[in-house]
């Protein structure tokens, strides 16, 4: 549960870091409500009574004890979260509250640590950390507290978020966000402490050799990963965003702005990145006993969709197979219904060699032709029996010719035949013959067509064959 929120945790922490670097970095963490009993007696002495120049061992001891206590407390909170998380499915609201608590505690701890360390440094006189009145920052803290799980959106500026996201999506490409990387490293170290070595078992990569990132569900499922900083429009590709940006003014039309962001320095390449699935109990989740990291952001996306999302794409051919990734559906549709290699026993195979291995193995099994071909041949067979009457004109016509040609005085006979040829086409006596000639006029006459007009069915068969082939 804690870890499903780790990234956001990061984000808020990162935010804090920013504010450290800024003018008033020191937040009044200690005054947060949940820890009021601890902070109130302490805060008085720590913020007001501590002499700057001379450091008091007793005070130091107190400080350290406080930090220790605090750590224990946070540990407890987190432990309960883990316990709960394994039993119940996480609810966003509850999660947010608990996360607030942890956030606040950790910030408090950091502040304490820094202040303690600052008091230890002899050169650090009048440390600005301690000089700030804590009350002035409660608003911000409260703001942090009230923000929901989508802390980054609220806290970070859009640019930051963009950059952060690019860092994730483009891998090592845009490594300009040192903060992000540093923090993630911190986080990883922390994870290692908390989860022990259980999560990294069975890995080829030793646990420390890569940095582990975990995206949020919403980030994984986001249709767009690149957003316009001006109008907020989302894009799938960085290049499309750059094209879009041209519309926002001339400064985006410069070659430098339109150019592809340069690949990063070699130092960045050395850090191997691996990803964890945000779904707890998934094998790809870093808390899993046999955790196996995902290699790329694309793997994360496909894995999450396939394993933890609803399968919304249904195959339009078989209406049974469902997929959550469009590419999977398309791959399936390529093979669905087609290339079915059938055996006479009714078994079907997706691959021809499998069918032939099956046929070779079993006595009497035969490769069966696809059903379409079978039905067509059956139809032809039926038509073939219909051809009996249609055969008559043929035999009649040819027997007529046969008779003339076998006659002894052929020349005369043939002359007569030739003379009357135009007539007999239309005479009633040769009605059947006429039938055979009738379509001949409209007959295309290709030599290989093989469709003598007296066999309309044959034409049909040929056409079917052509269609089949």
């Amino acid at each position: 549960m804690d870890h499903s929120q780790n990234h956001i945790h990061d984000q808020s922490a990162a935010n804090l870091c920013y504010q450290f670097g800024s003018d008033n970095p020191f937040l009044g963490m200690g005054i947060q409500q949940p820890f009021a009993p601890f902070t109130s007696p302490f805060g008085a002495c720590s913020s007001t009574n501590i002499p700057h120049m001379d450091w008091d061992p007793a005070t130091m001891l107190d400080n350290l004890t406080f930090i220790e206590e605090k750590i224990h407390q946070v540990k407890n909170v987190i432990r309960t979260m883990v316990d709960n998380g394994s039993q119940l499915p996480c609810r966003p609201g509850e999660l947010g509250q608990q996360q607030q608590v942890v956030n606040a505690d950790l910030t408090c701890l950091i502040v304490q640590l820094i202040s303690t360390a600052g008091s230890l440094l002899p050169s650090l006189k009048n440390s600005s950390f301690l000089s700030h009145p804590p009350a002035g920052h409660t608003g911000i803290v409260k703001h942090v507290g009230s923000s929901s799980s989508f802390v980054p959106n609220e806290l970070c500026s859009p640019e930051d978020y963009e950059e952060l996201f690019k860092g994730f999506t483009d891998g090592a490409m845009e490594g300009g966000i040192e903060i992000d990387n540093v923090l993630v490293e911190e986080l990883d170290a922390k994870d290692g402490d908390e989860g022990g070595d259980a999560g990294m078992d069975g890995e080829i990569l030793p646990p420390g050799s890569y940095e582990l990132l975990q995206l949020e569900k919403d980030e994984i499922l986001a249709p767009h990963t690149h957003f316009c900083t001006i109008c907020g429009k989302g894009f799938k590709r960085d290049a499309n965003l750059r094209m879009h940006m041209r519309g926002h003014g001339d400064e985006y039309k410069s070659p430098a702005a339109l150019a592809k962001p340069p690949r990063d320095t070699s130092a960045e390449h050395e850090v191997v990145k691996r990803y964890s699935c945000p779904f707890v109990d998934c094998k790809r989740n870093k808390l899993h006993k046999n955790f196996q990291p995902l290699k790329t952001i694309l793997c994360v996306k496909n894995h999450y969709k396939r394993s933890h999302c609803e399968k919304s794409y249904t195959c339009s051919r078989c209406h049974t197979k469902k997929f959550s990734v469009m590419a999977d559906l398309k791959t399936h549709e390529k093979h669905c219904g087609r290339n079915k290699w059938l055996c006479s026993c009714g078994t079907s195979f997706s691959r021809k060699d499998k069918l032939f291995a099956h046929v070779a193995l079993f006595q009497g099994h035969t490769p069966a032709l696809p059903t379409e071909a079978k039905t067509s041949s059956d139809q032809i067979g039926a038509v073939g029996s219909h051809q009996e009457p249609a055969k008559l004109p043929n035999s009649m016509g040819s027997s007529f010719m046969w008779g003339t040609s076998s006659g002894g005085n052929s020349a005369l006979d043939i002359k007569g035949f030739d003379g009357c040829s135009d007539d007999f086409l239309s005479t009633v006596n040769f009605g059947s013959f006429n039938f055979s000639f009738g379509p001949a006029d409209g007959f295309t006459g290709e030599p290989s067509g093989g469709s003598f007009p007296m066999m309309p069915s044959e034409h049909f068969q040929n056409a079917q064959k052509k269609g089949k082939n």
Binding site: G381, G384, S398, W402, S405, S410, A440, E458
Partner: protein, 649 residues
């Protein structure tokens, strides 16, 4: 002939008392046992096929006997099949090679339970799976089916063929749509297959062939030429226990690797192997292959090994039974040929040295083909005649053969086929030697032998009574005298006298009356031949199948009389002044069995298109020629010079 005459007398004797009351008592024909009668009929049919018809017409008993006798049916048109099968119920073979178009309905008309064992559909088209299904249903005993050239037959047809369980011999050559599925059906459905031809079945792959090798263990002959077979199924096929004949012409998938992988498990039954035009086979592969095929009798390696090396020659020597080895188109290394030694070799590019080597080492040579071997001197050709006295076939077309060479060849008394076309140096004297000493000559080719005249041909005709085929094209000195002497050769079936302007209808009429078996006739540019010759042909040459009439003086009348020959299949009618479109149309309509007609292009527009379509639909193919009209025949030496000039260019 004598037997036929005796029979006619028999019939007459039997028939003469027929009107009388005593006719019922022991007619002589009935007293003959069927076996004896059939033997007599066999001899009669061999002499004159039409004698059987007159025999059958003699009486009811004769008719019945003839019906029982005939085994082979070769109808001229597909619509005669039902009638023929009804008339000859005991016929076992149905040869449809004369029917260009066989519709499904014709096949379906075969009565069920017929005794047909063999059906030949190799030259027919127009039928499909439905017709084959009907055939399979009607002929339960069918053992031999030839479906070659069924370029439209695919898997559906093969699935119907697979229902013929007893099939032993099947040809599916050029059934290009056939795929592994169809072959798989056949392999499973016809387990008794002995001989199978899958030549040019380009749709087949190793999967189907492998299945075939698994299922049809009785195969003895398997033609896989021009298929896509590779090593995968080749090894399985070579393990077929009974395989004896395996043509693998033009199989580019067979390479040295495949041949080298043959191991000792390979079947030892293989006797004939043809690997010509297998481009990827070299001497290395051959050498490794012969180790696993020790019983080879014939091996054809033409155009496959780029080089014959001595090591390959030595490895071939290990096949002790080898009778025929063809190495056409192979480059020889000098030692390679010597190493091969005692086998028969037919090669190109022969030189004198190699002829000497062959003649001295192959004294039992039976067949020698040396077409266009211009390097060979006449002296070397004399060596052939002197040393190879067992020669039966000799092809010396376009060589320097002269009368001395022919005189030497006279020693080859077994010569049956002699091709000496374009040998301008031979004359009547040489032919006289051949005519006197080669009585078994059946086939002689004297194409463009300008030096010969009637005397030489008469010598040949008198000396070779078994002559079946003679080519005298462009022997311009030939006259009717030659034809008259040739008419005594009763077995003559092929006569080519193209470009002999001095022969006339008188000579042709002698041929027509004497040579009743004449089936191919080429009288192109015999300007003297006119309608009279055609009338004689139509009266006597009922076996005529193919005729070339171009440039003759034949008119419509001659053509129409010719068209009464019902078996006529192939006609070439170009540049005939006396032919009109009407006469041509009538002739084409009457000849029902035509399969191919060559006509001048001008007729295409002059003839009624629906008539042409009708003739085409019967299975006839028209070929339209537009060559220019060219009457003169140049002398042979001029022609040879011209053709050589063309070659040089």
């Amino acid at each position: 002939m004598a037997a036929a005459a005796a029979h006619r007398n028999n019939k007459r004797r039997r028939f003469s008392p027929a009107p009388g009351p005593t006719s019922a008592t022991a007619p002589p024909l009935d007293s003959l046992a069927d076996e004896l009668l059939f033997l007599v009929l066999d001899r009669v049919a061999a002499a004159d096929p039409r004698a059987l018809k007159s025999f059958a017409l003699a009486s009811r008993a004769c008719h019945a006997a003839e019906s029982r006798h005939r085994r082979l049916l070769r109808p001229l048109r597909a619509d005669l099949i039902p009638a023929a099968l009804a008339r000859y119920p005991s016929a076992s073979r149905l040869d449809l090679s004369l029917c260009a178009r066989v519709p499904d309905a014709a096949l379906a008309a075969a009565p069920s339970g017929s005794s047909l064992r063999a059906v030949d559909l190799s030259r027919s088209w127009g039928f499909g799976a439905a017709g084959l299904a009907a055939l399979a249903g009607a002929c339960p005993d069918l053992a031999d089916l030839d479906l070659s050239n069924g370029v439209h037959l695919g898997d559906a047809a093969a699935a119907e063929v697979a229902r013929m369980r007893t099939l032993q011999r099947l040809s599916l050559s050029r059934c290009k749509p056939l795929t592994d599925m169809g072959l798989g059906c056949v392999a499973v459905g016809c387990p008794d297959l002995r001989e199978l031809s899958l030549k040019w079945c380009l749709g087949l792959t190793d999967l189907g062939l492998h299945l075939l090798a698994l299922k049809c263990k009785k195969l003895t002959s398997l033609d896989l030429s021009y298929t896509m077979i590779t090593k995968e199924s080749f090894l399985a096929i070579m393990k077929l226990p009974n395989l004896q004949v395996l043509p693998l012409v033009g199989c580019i998938g067979i390479d040295d690797d495949a041949l080298g992988s043959l191991d000792k498990e390979c079947s030892k039954s293989l006797q004939v192997l043809n690997m010509s035009h297998c481009q990827n086979v070299t001497d290395v592969g051959v050498s490794s292959m012969v180790k696993s095929t020790p019983n080879l009798l014939e091996l054809d390696l033409s155009y496959c090994c780029p080089q014959v090396t001595p090591s390959m020659g030595r490895s071939l020597q290990t096949i002790t039974k080898l009778r025929i080895l063809k190495l056409e188109g192979c480059k020889f290394m000098a030692d390679g040929l010597k190493a091969i030694g005692s086998s028969c070799v037919s090669i190109r590019d022969i030189t004198d040295v190699s002829v000497a080597a062959i003649t001295s080492s192959c004294t039992s040579l039976i067949s020698l083909r040396m077409e266009s071997c211009s390097h060979v001197s006449s002296g070397a050709l004399q060596l052939i005649g002197k040393n190879c006295s067992h020669l039966e076939e000799l092809d010396l077309t376009d060589s320097d053969l002269d009368d001395e060479g022919l005189k030497a060849l006279a020693g080859c008394s077994n010569l049956s086929s002699l091709k000496i076309g374009i040998c301008l140096r031979i004359s009547d004297e040489g032919l006289t030697h051949i005519g006197k000493s080669c009585p078994k000559l059946g086939d002689i080719d004297l194409y463009r032998c300008g030096g010969i005249s009637d005397d030489g041909v008469i010598q040949i005709a008198q000396g070779s009574p078994m002559l079946e085929s003679i080519n005298l094209s462009y022997c311009t000195e030939i006259t009717d005298r030659s034809l008259m002497s040739l008419s005594k050769c009763t077995k003559l079936n092929t006569l080519e006298i193209r470009g002999c302007p001095r022969v006339s209808s008188a000579g042709l009429s002698e041929i027509a009356m004497g040579c009743r078996l004449l089936s191919k006739l080429d009288i192109k540019k015999c300007f003297e031949i006119n309608d009279v010759g055609m009338l004689y042909l139509s009266q006597f040459s009922h076996s005529l199948r193919q005729i070339n009439l171009s440039y003759c003086s034949v008119t419509d009348i001659g053509l129409l009389s010719l068209s009464s020959i019902c078996g006529l299949q192939n006609m070439t009618i170009v540049h005939l002044a006396g032919i009109t479109p009407n006469g041509l149309t009538a002739a084409l309509m009457v000849c029902g069995g035509l399969t191919k007609v060559k006509l001048h292009e001008a007729f295409k527009s002059m003839m009624p298109p629906h008539m042409l379509k009708n003739v085409e639909a019967r299975g006839c193919i028209f070929q339209w020629i537009n060559k220019p009209f060219k009457v003169e025949v140049e002398p042979c030496d001029v022609w040879k010079q011209q053709s050589q000039d063309v070659l040089v260019r």
